[in-house]
Every structure is written in C-alpha cells, then in structure tokens.
C-alpha cells in the first residue's frame, strides 16, 4: 500500500510545521500493518507534545480523482487543549506535603510553547513560580525553559528558614541514550533562624547572598518506572560551578546518583543504590549551609543533597540528623556518600492480588553512609579516610506503598548502627514519604 494523504481535523492555533515533523514517518509505511504501527507511533508523538487533549486515527482507502488502487488516507482527529487550563494537585515531597494550584497556557504560540504558573501552599511555607517552555519543532526532547521563582522553606533540623528568589534558564538535549541539561541560575538567598534557640553557627549564616551558577546534569535512565522499578539502571551526574558569572558565592559542586535493579525469582526485585558528592568552596570564604541544597522547581521542594539521615536517606536516623552539628542544629557536610541494598517482595500471602495489593511491597534494606567537612589543607587521601571511618549504617524491614508514578510511602522497622555522638536516631518504627529514596 501507499499512503497518499494525511489529513488533520481540529487544528486551530497549532502551526503546521511542528505537526509535519511528527507525522512524516507515516508516509514511509509499506503495508497495512506498517501504516497502523506508524500511525500509532505518530499519535504517541503528537500526544507527548502536550498540546492535544485527544488524538484519534482513522485509516481509510483513498477516494477522489488521483486515488491509486492501493492508496490510503490517514486522518488524525485531534482536540486541542483549551488556551488556559487550571490544575490542583497535592504534592508529597521529602516529608512535606503541599497543595499546588497551577495555571497553564499550553501551546501558546502554536508550536507547543507552554507558560505555567504554579502556586504552592505547604505545611511549611508558600512558594510560587512562573515558567516558559519551548521545545524545538521536530525534536521535542531538545527544549529550553526560563523560570522565575520564589521558594520558601522551614528546616527544623538546622533551625533554619530560607527564602530563595531566583531566575533560571535551562537547555535540555539528548545525546544518544543520555539526557543532558545545561542551566544558568541566579538566586537571591535569604537565610534566617527558625527559633530564638538556634545555634550561633546557624545565626552566623543569617542574611543575604547572591548565587549565580552554571550547572550541567547528565541522566541515563533505563528503568521501567521511577518509583519501585523492576529492572534497569539509573545514573545521574550533576556538577555546578558558582561564582564566575556574578554573585558572591563561589564553589564547585559534584554529585552523583546510581541505582541498579534486577528482577529475581518469585516476583521479587533486588535493588542497589549509591549516592555521593563533594562541595568545594573556591576562594577563602567557607561554604554556606545554603550551598548544601538543591531546589527542585517542578515541585518547589528544597532537597538537602549534602545532608544525611532520615527515612529517605540512611533509614533509622532522624531527618538529616547525621554528622557535623552545633548545639543540636545539623549543618550538613561538604563530602558524603550513601548506599543502600534492598530486596522488594510481594506482601506475605499476597492480599488483594491483582488489584490494590499490588501497590504494596515488602521491603528489606541495608543502608550505610558517611558525611564530613573538607579540611582545606588535607589531601584527598585524608578525606577518603575520614569518609571511611565512623560509617553509620542501619538495617531493617518494612512495607512500601507506591503512589501513582510520583511518590512512595514507607513504613519501616529500623535498627540504626554505627551511631556517633551527636547523631539523632529513630530506631524502631519510621515513616517516610517522598520522591527520592536511598
């Protein structure tokens, strides 16, 4: 057969050129099965642009004067999204909950550009953000976005409250099987004490600073799902250089995240993960508490990358309560590593099998990690030694609940070990909710 015409019904403001890129493969089909398959693929590609609510495909023989005996017409019936859509979500971040209201202008100028405004009202503080997204026509995975945001948070483990107001622009592009992101970010950070009783070390960090940084991230993800994957691996490597494009904060940050999953007998999955990172201040000013975090704009959560401990990190310890501290306020560190080994099995006796019960898994784990500050003067060997002594570790078992494709809840019974003086533990039952777990 040969595909003679491809029709589109229902296009309004969408421009023709981006549509052409997505459906050009359909013309190359040689037989009916091929036409059906390529049309289905084209439909998937059109849906991922995020500009259509519905795409339906009709394949029919060609009519009309120029019709060939084996000619086919493929018609895509599409419904464009409205110019303005609203949304309401509840988000669960790393042990925080919030209500997020969103306004979206999809397909603003006809080429899948998108403007989003999000407002998040959380258990701790409120945040908002405005972002503009534009993909390259024909190459949706290559895109750039510009974001403006204000994220606030309260962090009782450090007696710290923080307000970040920033602007960032990022480019995403795939190279072979990897996904790269290049980003420039300018943030005005304001730190303050959460309580009168905050330690003096945290009080000394109060005030304002301006960070202007360039960062690059690479992600290779072959897992079948990001929450409770059954197979595949994840490798994320991130680096950030601050200080050479303005601002008064100067550092070089490197961190990585690795995860490997393998399916075993009887529906069980073995998973291993390793995290690590290093924060090197440049110049004579020491690094600040605020440098030890990363902000996830899509969810307005501040993630404490250079902190250790808690239900999403080394389990059995209190939230971010391992390592350097002052008067009970945890300050994080400049170098860390953390690893975990997990075995996930179905619930014993498999209740609710085939339905609700499949969302739950039993979970046996072994976690370990260490965190320290860099002593400028000591060489790398001394630091590796520091990270290798006084390792904190824990083991235990529990139940994991998967929430859609976004989050996961855990209820574990933990045995913390290798506890050093100053660490706060949570032995026994520990509950955790979040997106990113060790």
């Amino acid at each position: 057969v040969v595909v003679q015409h491809v029709h589109f019904d229902g296009l309004g403001r969408t421009k023709d050129d981006i549509i052409m890129y997505e459906i050009c493969d359909v013309f190359k089909a040689k037989n009916l099965i091929d036409v059906m398959r390529k049309s289905h693929e084209a439909r998937e590609k059109l849906l991922r642009l995020g500009i259509f609510r519905q795409v339906e495909v009709l394949i029919d023989t060609c009519q009309g004067d120029d019709a060939l005996p084996n000619g086919l017409d493929v018609t895509f019936e599409v419904t464009e999204l409205r110019r303005l859509t609203g949304s309401y979500n509840t988000m669960v971040g790393n042990n925080e909950g919030s209500m997020v209201l969103g306004l979206k202008f999809p397909n603003l100028f006809g080429r899948a550009e998108k403007v989003t405004f999000q407002f998040s009202y959380g258990t701790k503080e409120t945040s908002y953000g405005l972002s503009f997204f534009k993909p390259q026509p024909g190459n949706f995975e290559r895109n750039f976005s510009v974001n403006l945001y204000k994220v606030t948070g309260q962090f009782p483990w450090s007696s710290l409250r923080e307000t970040d107001r920033g602007v960032s622009t990022e480019f995403n592009f795939p190279i072979w099987k990897t996904n790269h992101t290049l980003k420039w970010e300018g943030v005005w950070r304001e730190l303050g004490c959460l309580a009168r009783t905050a330690s003096f070390s945290v009080r000394e960090e109060s005030g304002h600073s301006l960070k202007s940084s360039l960062s690059h991230a690479m992600v290779i993800d072959s897992r079948n799902s990001s929450i409770l994957p059954r197979r595949g691996a994840l490798l994320k490597i991130n680096q950030e250089l601050a200080g050479y494009t303005g601002g008064d904060v100067s550092f070089l940050k490197e961190d990585f995240e690795f995860q490997l999953n393998k399916q075993l007998l009887w529906d069980s999955v073995f998973s291993a993960s390793l995290w690590g990172g290093m924060l090197v201040p440049i110049g004579d000013k020491p690094s600040s508490i605020a440098d030890r975090q990363a902000t996830y704009l899509s969810s307005f959560f501040v993630v404490f990358v250079f902190y250790l401990g808690g239900p999403t990190s080394v389990r059995g310890f209190s939230m971010y309560s391992i390592g350097p501290q002052s008067e009970g306020d945890y300050l994080g560190g400049e170098a860390y590593w953390a690893g975990g080994l997990h075995l996930y099995t179905p619930l014993p006796f498999r209740p609710g099998r085939g339905g609700f019960g499949d969302l739950f898994r039993t979970h046996f784990f072994l976690n370990a990690g260490n965190l320290c500050n860099l002593n400028y003067g000591d060489g790398p060997r001394a630091h590796l030694q520091k990270l290798a002594e006084y390792i904190r570790w824990s083991y235990g078992a529990g139940v994991v609940l998967r929430l859609g494709n976004i989050a996961r809840l855990e209820l574990n019974y933990c045995f913390p070990m290798g506890v050093q003086s100053g660490d706060r533990i949570c032995d026994g039952v520990q509950f955790g909710a979040g997106i990113r777990f060790l």
Binding site: F200, E204, H208, D248
Partner: protein, 263 residues
C-alpha cells in the same frame, strides 16, 4: 551575687569602614560605652550580616556565653540580671527621669538620624545607598537598600514624620539637645557623680553625630551649639575609650579632629 562575665563576650555590628550607618554606629557606641562603664570587657566583631544575625533585627547585639541579646534596653536588663548595674544608686524619681530622657533620645535623636539617612534624598543617594549595599554584589546591593528605605519610610509615615521637612527635623534635634544640655548643666554626668545608661546613650548618639562626616554640617552644628554637651562627649571619650583603641570605634586621635565614621 555577680555572675562571672565570660572572657569571649563579643559585640556584633556592621563593617566599620565601609558599611555602618550613622544611627547604627550611634547605637553600637552607646552599648560599648555602657559596657565600659560597667567594667565588662567585650570585643567588637564586625560582620556584614550583623543586622540579620540579630534576634530583633537591630544592631548591636552581644553574644555572651550562650545568649544573644540585642539593643541597649534589653542589654541593660541582661547585665543587671548578671549582677551589674549603673543605676542602682538612683531613687525612684531619678529612675523615672532617666527613663524619660532615654525615651527622648530614642524618639527624637534616633528618629532624626534615621530621617536624615533614609528620607533626605541627597544623603540617601550619596551616602546611605552606597554604604548600606557595599558588602553585596549587584543587583543585591540595590535591592537590599531599596527594601530598607521602603521599610524606614513606612515607619516614618506611621509616626507622622513623613511630612516633616529637613529644617523641622533639625529644629527637633536642637530642642532635644537643649533639653539634654539643661539637664546636664555643669555636672560631669547626668546624675552627678556616676555615669548611668543615660550617659552611655547620650554619648553614643552625640559623639557619633559630632564625628561623622555627612553631606552637610548642619546636624553636628546643632550639637556644637551646646558647649557642655561637647565637653561631656570629650570627657567620656577620654575616660572610657582612650587606651582601648584596638577594638573601639573611637580612637585616641585629637579630640577636635573630625573622624570620618561615614565616608
């Protein structure tokens, strides 16, 4: 019983040379004078973020042992709880009088200083904005000074000073100095033989006004009109600050020389 005063007691204020403003310098000097008068040594630490470190948002604050106390009033109370006081010898009437004069200085002199710094356009542009934002990179320096200016102007509106002109403010300063001068008379200190926190407060403000270079001399001239006040400042400087140059904001330079604390 007097509790021991720790060796490492520290007083925090903004950076002396480039950043601190007239009003904050006056407040800091008042606290330093008070602690000197109580014979409690304290070292002065300058930090660009002193204002944000302070629990009340105002400088100076002292870090004594584990505690952090800011502003003269609470510091006087704190020091009293540790067993040191300058006003114990006063009777109830005198104490009330002292409080009244301290209120006068805070409501008149301090507010006039704030007005001059933040509401007089020439001073704001030439002195306040460059100094206030100096430790920060662009554009943060601009944002922070405008934010502070907006906050102070709102406060001025709330207390009814927004409508005042510079001349009226200087008149108020003059009246305040007249009241202080009359109360001081020919005595060495406000309550005759012994200095009290009132002396520390008045010294802090008047000395700073006299030794700070602004865009014009009008403010310091108002104080200079009263000889006994100038002599009072010199006397306290000599007695409590000479010989302690390293850490204090005044030094043993010639008493009549103008030491630029601003610019």
């Amino acid at each position: 019983a007097a509790e021991p005063w720790p060796e490492n007691a520290a007083l925090y204020q903004q950076l002396k040379e480039e950043q601190i403003l007239l009003s904050d310098n006056a407040s800091s000097l008042a606290v330093q004078a008070f602690l000197q008068m109580c014979n409690l040594p304290v070292r002065v630490v300058c930090r660009a973020n002193a204002e944000y470190m302070s629990p009340s948002g105002k400088v100076p604050f002292i870090h004594v042992g584990n505690q952090v106390v800011s502003e003269l009033g609470p510091i006087v109370q704190f020091v009293k709880a540790k067993g040191h006081s300058l006003s114990d010898g006063l009777d109830e009437v005198q104490k009330a009088e002292m409080k009244a004069y301290m209120e006068l200085v805070n409501n008149m002199l301090l507010t006039a200083e704030l007005y001059l710094q933040w509401c007089d356009d020439v001073t704001v542009e030439e002195i306040t904005h460059p100094r206030y934002g100096s430790p920060y990179p662009w554009p943060l320096n601009r944002i922070l000074s405008y934010q502070k200016q907006w906050e102070i102007r709102r406060k001025m509106k709330a207390i009814g000073w927004a409508g005042k002109s510079l001349e009226q403010v200087l008149e108020d300063v003059d009246q305040c100095c007249q009241a202080l001068s009359q109360r001081l008379g020919t005595q060495p200190y406000f309550f005759n033989k012994q200095p009290t926190e009132l002396d520390a407060l008045v010294f802090g403000h008047l000395f700073t006004i006299l030794t700070t270079q602004l865009t014009s001399d009008e403010l310091s001239e108002k104080v200079k009109n009263y000889n006994n006040l100038v002599a009072f400042c010199r006397r306290i400087e000599q007695q409590y600050f000479e010989g302690h140059d390293k850490d204090n904001s005044s030094s043993a330079t010639s008493r009549s020389a103008k030491r630029s604390l601003l610019r």
